[in-house]
């Protein structure tokens, strides 16, 4: 006997059983087709050679709720606990997806089923008179409440010290301390400066998060920490702090992937990350294009920068133009009055010869140099130039490459969704262009709120919560910082 996810290919078998079990009250083939193919619906079949039972669940992620849609066991297979097996699977799925409530309706006369549901923790909360057709029988509405785990997440992979707290997929706190100002005089993030700042900030940030969430440390169910990719010395501060918390409060610890956490941040916006999705993560440290089919089990790196991260290019070009650090907002400001088509700066790795090996990789080093040469040439020739035009044209080149490649990925892999993350999404022009191009291409665009896009502890907590809710074992205490952790390692064991 085995349980398998039901797909539309098995419609015929499902309808046979549906009609046998529910007779005159059976769903139509059309309804069943819709049920099996609707997003957020999870149907499972119980097979003993052939289909002998099935059950379905519909999630409402935004309400953190789930509905048991139906459960059917073939007449000759009843009384063997198969209904319980299927129900347990549905409860497991609801739990893993962050549901806090599971609802179901059952015929008032079906005492066997009601007993089963009660034994699984459901309680009657309502009665609907005259609910079933054509019999006119009453329905009992039953509810099972799930207490989702309270997870504290620590982020320290670059220059932001973040501590976030979530309950399941709900955001409770997102405290952040940035050492960006301390890096300003160096024109970029200095690893040792960042690591020192993390150590100073970690306890105040932790206390701030606990106060925001209104919880005490001993209420936390598990600790999550980013152990890569990122700056090793910076990551180690977060890891030390996380292990101290885990040992100090005797709680399990989950070492999670920083980049995958960026994708997972969207669960805090609408209770679920819609999958599959292409994710474009762009920051001072990363420029990565991911194909995510399953947040915990199937994340693929399609491409990344082969030299500078996009955010770094903004910082360096800002320096060329005499603008302060960090360069992103400054270039954005300077570009406002500029003409994005004034200068045609090069687009890296976009030529036909790049398609075989670098279709989804990025290169911004050549672009940065091209801008510098252009400016130097003007200065040497004593020609005046428009900073606004240079900024706008540079920004356009970066955005063009980022979005073109992201949309190529959507098309090639048949994924109708694009998620943006990382600090560079603060760039207004990037967001504006993303909206325009995605809408033209019929791609759903997701951009979590800015505080969830930049590095933050809440996204680490959220990914930790996903692992806990799915019943994954904690990491051992022996993990270390992995500065080049691949995206395929969502959790370090």
């Amino acid at each position: 006997m085995e349980i398998k996810k039901l797909t539309i290919e098995l419609l015929h078998e499902v309808m046979q059983l549906e009609n046998q079990v529910f007779e005159s009250e059976a769903w139509s083939e059309r309804n069943m087709t819709a049920e099996l193919s609707t997003q957020h619906s999870h149907y499972f079949g119980l097979f003993d050679q052939e289909l002998i039972g099935y059950a379905g669940l519909r999630l409402s992620p935004q309400d953190y709720a789930a509905d048991i849609q139906t459960i059917a066991i073939g007449k000759e297979h009843r009384g063997k606990g198969l209904g319980r097996t299927l129900m347990n699977r549905l409860i497991e799925v609801a739990r893993a997806n962050g549901s806090e409530k599971i609802f179901l309706e059952v015929k008032q006369s079906n005492s066997a089923a009601i007993e089963l549901y009660k034994s699984l923790g459901f309680e009657q909360i309502d009665i609907r008179k005259n609910y079933y057709r054509p019999s006119g029988e009453n329905a009992l509405v039953m509810l099972k409440e799930i207490t989702q785990p309270l997870i504290l997440g620590i982020e320290s992979s670059c220059d932001e010290t973040g501590v976030g707290i979530v309950r399941g997929n709900r955001l409770l706190a997102n405290a952040l301390h940035s050492s960006m100002d301390e890096h300003a005089k160096y024109g970029g993030v200095v690893p040792e400066v960042a690591a020192r700042a993390h150590l100073e900030a970690i306890e105040p940030t932790l206390n701030q998060a606990l106060a925001q969430a209104g919880v005490e440390l001993d209420e936390i169910d598990a600790i999550a920490v980013a152990n890569g990719p990122g700056l090793a010395g910076a990551l180690m501060v977060g890891i030390g702090a996380a292990k101290g918390l885990a040992v100090g409060s005797d709680k399990p610890i989950y070492a999670v992937n920083h980049l995958v956490a960026h994708v997972g941040a969207d669960v805090l916006e609408r209770g679920a990350v819609e999958l599959p999705t292409i994710a474009l993560l762009v920051s001072g440290g990363h420029t990565s294009l991911l194909l995510v089919r399953d947040l915990l089990d199937d994340v693929e790196l399609l491409g990344e920068t082969i030299d500078d991260a996009a955010g770094e290019a903004f910082d360096k070009v800002a320096r060329v133009l005499g603008l302060p650090y960090p360069g992103g907002p400054e270039i954005d400001k300077a570009a406002e009055s500029g003409d994005p088509a004034a200068i045609r700066f090069p687009r890296g790795l976009m030529l036909p010869k790049d398609m075989e090996r670098n279709k989804y990789n990025f290169s911004f080093s050549g672009l940065k140099t091209a801008v510098a040469r252009w400016v130097e040439k003007c200065e040497e020739a004593n020609e005046s130039y428009s900073t606004a035009d240079v900024a706008a044209s540079f920004r356009e080149a970066v955005i063009d490459v980022l979005l073109t490649k992201a949309l190529w990925a959507c098309e090639e892999f048949g994924v109708p969704r694009l998620l943006l993350g990382g600090g560079v999404v603060a760039n207004a022009r990037l967001r504006q262009e993303a909206v325009r191009r995605c809408s033209e291409a019929g791609i759903e665009l997701r951009i979590p709120r800015f505080s969830l896009c930049t590095d933050n502890g809440a996204m680490i907590a959220a990914l930790g919560a996903q692992l806990v809710m799915s019943g994954r074992a904690p990491s051992s205490l022996g993990f270390g910082a992995e500065s080049t952790l691949p995206v395929t390692v969502v959790q370090t064991p």
Binding site: G188, V237, A372
Partner: protein, 190 residues
């Protein structure tokens, strides 16, 4: 009950009840602090037969030491003390090395990059330091007996049990500014 944590050289953890050592775990790996800190903590507690909740005070080695490892121990000590709601104390580790050393002593430990962390003592009381020096410069300390070494959680705990020094500061002692030169300006190409 004292939980003593030191990552100024290797990773070590000791559990003390007053002067009495209940356990001492030392992992000499000079690089694996982030990896080793968790297991050292749980092993030290297990070997002492104690639960973390029984800890009433946390002690940490503040350095001077190489930065990366040092921070792991201090970060862990901070959050353990915070989760238990107990005080955190810090030891300047050269003080622990000088503990119970009679006469005039120069205590040094390896600071890498051909430099030494150093401090001078008379009968265990610090005269000067900590400061950075080199072996070539040690000639000026002719009056002092030279003691070179590295501290650990056990030595720190013993020092802690006997000193009347104020140890309320647990911030790291680096003795070096972060290794950077501010950007030279805008020349990017070429």
């Amino acid at each position: 009950m004292l939980l003593s944590i030191d990552t100024t050289a290797g990773t070590s953890v000791a559990v003390f009840d007053g002067q009495k050592e209940l356990s001492f775990i030392d992992n000499a790996d000079p690089f694996g602090h982030a990896e080793n800190i968790g297991d050292c903590l749980t092993e030290a507690l297990a070997s002492a037969g104690k639960r973390i909740a029984e800890v009433t005070e946390v002690l940490v080695g503040r350095g001077p030491a190489s930065y990366t490892g040092l921070r792991v121990g201090i970060a862990a000590a901070k959050t353990i003390a915070a989760s238990l709601g107990v005080p955190l104390r810090g030891v300047m580790v050269l003080d622990a090395l000088a503990y119970q050393q009679p006469g005039k002593v120069l205590v040094t430990s390896d600071a890498k990059r051909r430099e030494l962390f150093a401090a001078t003592y008379e009968n265990g009381l610090r005269l000067d330091g900590p400061f950075l020096t080199t072996s070539e410069q040690l000639g000026q300390f002719q009056d002092f007996r030279h003691l070179a070494g590295a501290s650990d959680a056990r030595l720190n705990a013993k020092f802690f049990a006997s000193t009347s020094q104020d140890l309320s500061d647990s911030s790291p002692i680096y003795l070096r500014s972060p290794d950077v030169t501010p950007s030279k300006g805008k020349k990017v190409s070429g």
